[in-house]
Symmetry: C2
Subunit: 577 residues, 2 copies
């Protein structure tokens, strides 16, 4: 179980330093290129050990001391977690620990944060939040439970990483603690889920949580257990043995098969230029003049394989897995590298019946671990879309395949436009031209919930059970634009005469509005109804953190983030807002 | 029902113009001094008609055209709503309308917003939100349902005011609309509950809501009904008749008695200097050097009256009503006028058994309209405390009366310190000195829920049913500090040797932290567990709005708020964050 066990992935070449803030960040990596994590296997347990290279920052200007992290470190973590799910079905529990002595993880690198522009900070926090939500998703739904083995102090984001695990054990050595020093030291929040998980997941009493979050020195030992900050404090002499026992216990709860073979997440076939990104099933045209990314997701070119062994055989080439990986990478690329493309126009192309056939194959075999992983991955990727601060407009045109799993793209959009009839002068003109249809399938009715716990359809019809029922009666039916509009499945259904003008107006108008106000509006309207820990993290917690990040008390020249480590105290405007 | 009906309150002397932003805002007013509202009575219906005086702004520099409002207008609305509840039990429905032709209300005054500092904007929005939540509370729990009779266009905050009503009717005259033009015109959000209530209360579909909120011209007539933005569109010829019918229908649902006499909300006996505020039962020392307000709430001086007629006879002098009014006014005064007093230290003084006796009297007669109003008012005032952006520290000392309703003050605090034993050198020293106790009562178990729908005790023990059960077994018992700490009812229980130092450290430390980070932390920790429309408004919506308010795209010199009305377009940083 130790990080030096057999099977440690090679720590190979350095990730390309991008420097200067100009060059694009890539979210593609693989274990052979990790600089900050060691993965080892002792089935049914894997160990993911943090060993951050101080000189391995994604940007220049800071050293990643004490296992502090930046986006590059988190990209590797995300990659490792994904590969454990798909490539290692034999892993039934994952120990998250550190290779360094006395320190688990010191959280997000402060100099990196202090030097980063506002947009970078916000986007960085969003991605790290998504990765931590992914750990919880693996524990809850994948049969790969995460165990935080804090072999030393876990502070700030380090403790927040532990909070995303099923079970937290802290070494009891009279010096190791957990802490959330963001507020007293930096004037910001523990914004990577910390404030939410402490009360809502760990059930730490709010007044103790308040005290804990103002004490930069943290809490360890029995008090950390008594306050529920960790599940157990374990003396050094019993550490390795207890970690092994707990990991075995977690692994024993897994429903993963003991002897399945994984599939390889082969490198994406991606072409990236300044104005286009293309993969096998997903592509995007980047229109910088108008601030628009035009995204197309293509449906399957062939019928699905007959059964689960057929899916396995296709592996990473299986249409829905491939398309999801590509969409996931595209979202991350555009979010991080193209902040001025404020509107994403989403189209699909293909045969809706084939999409539904893939959906049926998957949902008919949900008990299979790989099928389960594919559906969960699509769920997480669509959730990523839901919290993306870009306006999403779906265009449903002839030749499209907004059905079942791909209909979720239209349901995730802020608005959808569906052409009524056909284009009079389009490529598909003529007597055989077929108008666009949309089709609800089983994928729209449960397996792909949003962060608020509801399906996108239920969120859309929140408080309107009659409207939802009327729609559900038409499940499985290929609905024409007029029906889809009347039933509330699409927003507008202009015909060919109005189409170009209406769509152009919608897109241009969007680009004329305040980007900040759009972000705020979308973050509210997309989440009608109930809130969960996950939506509270992206809504309540992140919104407050973003506000704080934009305030002089944190980010100004005399603010706490800027003054940290200088020996000077921050100078605060003492007005409470 | 018209605003000119008999019983119109006199529109009397102007509210004192405070000017220059320096002088204090007073939240005390009464109908004889209203400049912006006309109240008329035609039992069982009252009409609250907006008639904003253009030159009646609370500050100089803007004109309140088109029934736009500022804090002064909203202070009068709040006063009117409170008086309707207490002074007019014969009113069973309230028509909210406007005296002006073709306009109901144009929302918050834009020039006022543009000229206001960040802290003012945020505090103003909080108060207006609380007042609108109060309308909903009256409709739901007071038997005074609010009917929005939109006799003309309701835009922005004007429509948000309507959204807080039970039923919305819009005149159908081909020109009157409802609209949320904040995003397209001002680059900010409809932040007074608009984005939350449109989807979560009115159940407008999210994509239609998105479209609606980007169209500054608004939506009227049948489309407004079809989209659920209003409940009905009524032609001018049938307007007065239909308003009367709807009001009568709402009134008929009320459980208020038909013939009760109200009680007068007599002027508060308040003394205000630069460093002290005092009322009969509540007082505060304002320590500007340390940034602390030391608040004391005194318990009843006498036993409660024997029965409900006794409460009625005491009227506004009835202890719990008087203390609640004073606390309410103090909170509003400190929030608005003392932003640099970042920590509120809360004490109580009195006999806890008497407090519990008052609670028993009230809860034993909850069916009485006046008793119900007193309890509801305490609930709303405690909720105001929950969303106050100040650190709240409760000090529980010998001679205090943190029992039942007043125990809620300690439960609302971010932390509580309870002295174990007695002060060795205090006034109460000696063999007869009695240590402090805290006592849970029925008031702590339901009637005073927080905005999240849970009691403060349930929120405190969120996810810890065993802890809550252990505590509830001791209900009614006067608990000493050691027990209270062990049971989790107070945070810390130092003895006399440590007391002064621990309390001093806690308060001083609080004053040394970033005020913004404290606000963000408290806004998260105070609301463990579920979210409701109300908490979403203060959490998700307000936090995003505050972020937007602090961004150059809204408030900068080239931002949309600053450019509005200048004929120049705002210049946006197009980066999406």
């Amino acid at each position: 179980m130790a990080a030096t066990a057999a099977g440690v992935a090679p720590v190979a070449q350095t990730q390309t330093k991008t420097g200067g803030g100009r060059s694009r960040v890539s979210f593609q990596t693989e274990p052979g290129r990790y600089r900050h994590w060691r993965v080892s296997f002792d089935a049914p347990v894997a160990t993911l050990a943090m060993d951050v290279a101080e000189d391995g920052g994604l940007r220049d200007g800071y050293e990643l001391k004490l296992n502090s992290y930046d986006l590059g470190v988190d990209i590797e973590l995300y990659d490792a977690v994904q590969r454990l799910r798909f490539e290692h079905p034999e892993v039934h529990a994952v120990v998250l620990t550190s290779v360094k002595e006395k320190i688990f993880c010191a959280g997000a690198n402060i100099r990196m944060l202090a030097a980063s522009p506002h947009a970078w900070k916000v986007n960085f926090c969003k991605f790290t939040n998504e990765t931590r939500n992914g750990l919880e998703d693996a524990s809850a739904h994948s049969g790969q439970a995460y165990l935080a083995a804090l072999n030393g102090t876990a502070s700030g984001g380090g403790y927040e990483l532990a909070l995303a695990c099923e079970h937290i054990m802290l070494i009891d050595d009279r010096s190791s603690v957990v802490s959330l020093p963001e507020l007293p030291l930096l004037g910001v929040l523990p914004g990577t889920g910390g404030l939410t998980r402490v009360t809502d997941k760990r059930h730490v009493r709010r007044d103790l949580a308040d005290y804990f979050s103002t004490k930069s020195e943290g809490v360890g030992g029995r008090k950390a257990v008594a306050w529920r900050l960790v599940d157990e404090a374990v003396p050094r002499t019993k550490w390795a043995e207890t970690v092994a026992t707990r990991a075995a216990e977690l692994a024993a709860r897994s429903s993963r098969p003991p002897d399945a073979a994984g599939i390889q997440l082969t490198p994406l076939d991606k072409t990236r230029t300044g104005d286009a990104i293309s993969y096998r099933y997903v592509s995007a045209r980047l229109d910088h003049a108008d601030g628009v990314a035009a995204i197309t997701v293509r449906g399957p070119e062939q019928d699905p394989p007959a059964d689960v062994p057929g899916i396995r055989e296709q592996g990473a080439g299986f249409w829905l897995l491939a398309a999801t990986r590509e969409l996931d990478d595209l979202i991350l690329d555009l979010r991080t590298n193209e902040p001025e493309l404020g509107t994403w126009v989403v189209r699909t192309e293909g045969d809706p019946r084939r999409v539904l056939a893939y959906d049926r194959l998957l949902l008919g075999n949900r008990g299979d671990w790989l099928v389960n992983e594919i559906v969960l991955y699509l769920k997480r990727t669509l959730k990523r879309l839901d919290v993306t601060s870009r306006s999403l407009i779906a265009l449903i045109e002839p030749g499209s395949c907004f059905a079942g799993s791909l209909l979720e793209l239209a349901l995730a959009a802020d608005r959808s436009y569906m052409l009524a009839g056909v284009f009079e002068n389009g490529a598909d003109t003529g007597p055989d031209a077929e108008p666009a249809v949309v089709t609800m399938g089983e994928m729209n009715r449960g397996p792909l919930p949003m962060g608020n716990g509801l399906t996108r359809l239920r969120t859309r019809f929140f408080g309107d059970p009659d409207g939802l029922a009327a729609l559900e009666e038409r499940a499985g039916e290929a609905l024409l634009a007029e029906d889809a509009e009347r039933l509330g499945l699409v927003t507008f259904a202009p015909d060919d005469i109005d189409w170009a003008e209406e769509v152009r107006m919608a897109v241009e108008e969007r680009s004329s509005f305040s980007p900040d106000a759009l972000t705020g509006m979308e973050a509210n309207y997309r989440f009608a109804g109930p809130e969960t820990m996950e939506t509270k993290i992206f809504g309540r917690l992140s919104a407050w953190q973003n506000w704080i990040f934009s305030r002089p008390n944190a980010a100004g020249p005399d603010g706490a983030l800027s003054k940290y480590g200088t020996g000077q105290r921050a100078c605060f405007d003492r007005k409470r807002v």
